[in-house]
Structures are given as C-alpha cells and as structure tokens.
C-alpha cells in the first residue's frame, strides 16, 4: 500500500514539510524519498521535467508537482478525514488567496529583507512587516487561519514562517518578534505543540546549521562573481 504513494522531498524544505503533514493528516502510508538536490534522481527529473524541483507526489505512478497543487490533489483524492480546504466556495477562495500570498510575496520579500543590503533591504523590511501585519490581521480572533481547526493556509504558512525564523536566527535579525506579532507567535506555538505537525519539522539546531552553511556558500559565490 505504501508503494502507491511516494513523496520526493528534502528534510530542510518547508514545501516538502507541507506535503508530509498533509499526507499524515489524511492517515496515509507513503514512501518518502530524500532527494540530494546537488545530484537529482532520475525519478525526480522524469517526474518534474519542467521545474526539476521537490516536492513531487507520485500516486499510482502519476506525478504531481507544486506544493499547493499537491495539497489540493491530496484533499480531493482522500476526502475521508481532516479536510484541508473548507467546503464553502468563498471560504475556499479566501484560503487559496492567503496561501498564494505566502508563496508569491511573503517568502521572496522575506529573503530580501534578511539577505539584501542597503536600500533594497530597507524597502523589503518595510514590505515584509506590512505582509506580516496582513497575516496577523487575517488570523486575529480565530484559533487558526482555517477557523476552529487548522487547514490549508495554516499548513502553507506554518512551515514557511518556521523556516524564516531559522533564517532570522542565522542572520541574527529581529524582523519577526513576539512583541510585534503576538497573534502569529501564539498560533505558531499552538501548532508546534501539535504532535503531528511538530513531527514534520526538522530538528531546529540541524536546520539552523544547514541554513547557515548554505547562506555562507551563497555569499561566497556572490562575492566571487563580483570580484571576477
């Protein structure tokens, strides 16, 4: 039965964590295949020829790529427990909106806010702060983005924000703090306290060390390019 579902992922990727959680919430057995992104497997290259990225879900031999697309696929294929998206079309549109916002805006702005320099960084810090305020506003007064129970947006947002907290620690910055965003921090703590959710997070120190090493390599490569 486990052979029917395969997940190609990496231990450090928040996009990969999303799918692990979605599959576990649905009570599904699956085979997890850890990819080495510096040496991508044939299976990955064949399954996602367009982007060559993880995560990829393979169900009965059919590959699905793009984490939010995969999450919707999982939700539609296995409807028996823990619905990820609500039933109401308007609520679904709102959920899709916030998930898209995180992937298209928040993540990239955050990278610039933490990694850039000068005016570009200043602008990004301002924008990132505004984005977090929007998220805080959307969450206020609710247990989760999904309402009483956590769902699509919570899963999409949680791993990304946890990843950004790791990046924040590496960069020794303080853009996301409990003082500034109490509602978001309370929500993150709640999810961290959930066994199934927490089980999809990598060990924090390992994650920090990994991101630190990657940032160092990226910065070295960038300075070499400048020097050349």
């Amino acid at each position: 039965m486990a052979k029917e579902i395969k997940l190609l992922g990496t231990w450090a990727s928040p996009f990969s964590h999303r799918i692990e959680l979605a599959l576990k919430l649905k009570g599904l057995q699956f085979e997890y295949l850890e990819e080495d992104l510096s040496n991508k497997s044939q299976l990955l290259l064949q399954s996602n020829p367009v982007h060559r990225k993880i995560p990829v879900l393979i169900h009965k031999g059919n590959p699905i790529s793009e984490s939010l697309v995969i999450m919707e696929y999982i939700d539609e294929t296995w409807q028996h427990q823990n619905p990820l998206l609500p039933k109401d079309p308007y609520a679904r549109a709102v959920a899709r909106f916030w998930a898209k916002f995180i992937d298209e805006k928040v993540l990239w702005t955050a990278f610039k806010a933490y990694n850039d320099k000068g005016k570009e960084q200043e602008d990004a810090i301002e924008e990132f702060s505004q984005q977090l305020k929007f998220l805080e506003g959307e969450l206020k007064g609710k247990e989760y983005f999904g309402g009483e129970r956590f769902g699509f947006v919570d899963i999409a947002a949680f791993f990304i924000l946890q990843f950004l907290r790791v990046l924040q620690e590496v960069k020794e910055a303080e853009l996301m703090t409990e003082e500034k965003y109490p509602v978001l921090f309370e929500w993150m703590e709640k999810l961290q306290g959930n066994e199934v959710v927490a089980g999809c997070l990598p060990p924090r120190e390992k994650h920090i060390a990994y991101v630190r090493a990657r940032r160092a390599a990226a910065e070295e490569a960038a300075s070499k390019t400048k020097a050349a």
Binding site: I70, E72, Y73, F97, K100, F134
Partner: protein
C-alpha cells in the same frame, strides 16, 4: 433578471489578460455581470478597498464580497455556478495538471511577455524570447488530440493561456515579426489559438491585436517615464 446569480461585478480593464480570465469564465457560465473598468493610470477607491493586499485587478465582487487573483476567481466561478459547463476537469489528477500549467504560465511564462518589450538590451530581449519559445514548446507537448486543452470545450488551461493570446500576437508584431506561435514548431497551438479566439465565450473578450499594440506603446512609455523620474 439575473437575481438567482446574486449581484456580480468585476473590477478590471479591457487590456488586462488577467481580467480576461474571469470574463471568459463568467461567459462560459452565462452569468451576467457589471464590468467596472478602472481608469488607466489610477486606482479606484473600490479597488483599493476590495483588494487592500495587492491593489490589483481583477477583483470579482459577488454580493459585495471580494474575490482576488485571476485563477482563484475562475475556480470560484466554477464552484459557485456548478450547474453550468464545468471549467476544471472532474478527475483530481487532471485538475492537478490544469492547476500546474496555470501556475507555470503565471510564474514562469508570462513575466517574459512583459519583459521582452521592456528589455534594455538586445541580449535581454533575446533571452526573454527564448524563454517564451521554450514555454510554448512545453505547452505544445501538453496539448492533446482534442480541440482544447480542456477537451471538447474550453477549460481551465485554455482560459489561463488563451487570455494571453492578444498580448502574444501583439508581441510578435512589436518584436518585428518574431514567430512565437509557429506553424512548424507549434502547429497544435496555432490550430488551438484559432479555435479559442472564435469560441463564443471568448470572442468579445479578447481584444484585437492592433488595440493591444497601441495600448502597449502607452504602457511602455508610462513605465519608462516613471523609471526616468525616480
């Protein structure tokens, strides 16, 4: 007359391919709506209030409630007016494939349509054109034996991609006759483009290529002026 459908308004602009998507979708469902066109160069109070996060068109207002992001609006239309012809396929895997291509178009392909005419150097322009051709080759591969990506009738991918046809055609002219849709390299897409443009849900929505070329000139001038003054 359309009271069963509720109050349906769409904030948008005639030239925007993203706005064309929900317009086509509403036509597929035969839903009448009020088209509230934004003035070029300014954003209405209603738009800013309805989409405070992005301040962008299109925004669908259904009984006063705003829905933003073109692909999300199209899915909403499909789900609400479920008795009409369906836009997304019914099989979850086919739906995933449709969503995958829509995401690809928005994230990877369309940015090059915008980049090509704005490119500062010949090199940058050629790079954008190459990316566009690669994408079209992928789409040619994804296009099957039927008339449309959606099969016998237009569906989600047709709307996501087809909404860009007028701009694609305009770009070919603006770049001095570069062949993006190519009878030899993308024969399927050429056939598809003609069928899509003629579809009843599409033909009054897709602008004429000349009008887009005129508009593009205005837009490029405006962007360059803004860049020069900043």
């Amino acid at each position: 007359m359309a009271s069963n459908n509720g109050d349906v308004k769409l904030i948008g602009a005639w030239a925007s391919p993203y706005v064309m998507r929900p317009r086509i979708a509403l036509n597929v469902k035969s839903v009448e709506y009020e088209f509230l066109q934004e003035q070029f160069g300014s954003k209405s109070e209603l738009l800013l209030k309805s989409n405070p996060v992005h301040k962008k068109i299109p925004v669908l207002l259904h009984n006063g409630k705003p829905i933003c992001e073109s692909s999300i609006i199209v899915e909403y239309i499909d789900e609400v007016w479920s008795s009409g012809p369906s836009i997304l396929p019914s099989d979850p895997y086919d739906r995933a494939v449709a969503r995958f291509w829509a995401a690809y178009l928005d994230e990877k392909w369309f940015p090059n349509v915008r980049a090509a005419p704005m490119a500062a150097t010949e090199e940058a322009k050629n790079a954008a054109v190459e990316q566009l051709k690669e994408g079209l080759a992928l789409l040619e591969g994804a296009y099957g034996e039927k008339d449309f990506f959606g099969g016998e009738k237009i569906g989600f991918i047709d709307i996501a991609f087809g909404s860009m046809l007028a701009w694609l055609r305009a770009l070919q002219v603006m770049l001095g006759g570069v062949k993006l849709l190519d009878e030899e390299k993308t024969p399927g897409l050429c056939k598809w483009a003609a069928k899509f443009s003629a579809d009843p849900a599409v033909k009054d929505v897709l602008p004429e290529t000349e009008k887009i070329i005129e508009f593009a000139k205005l837009l490029v001038a405006k962007i360059k002026a803004a860049a020069a003054s900043s």
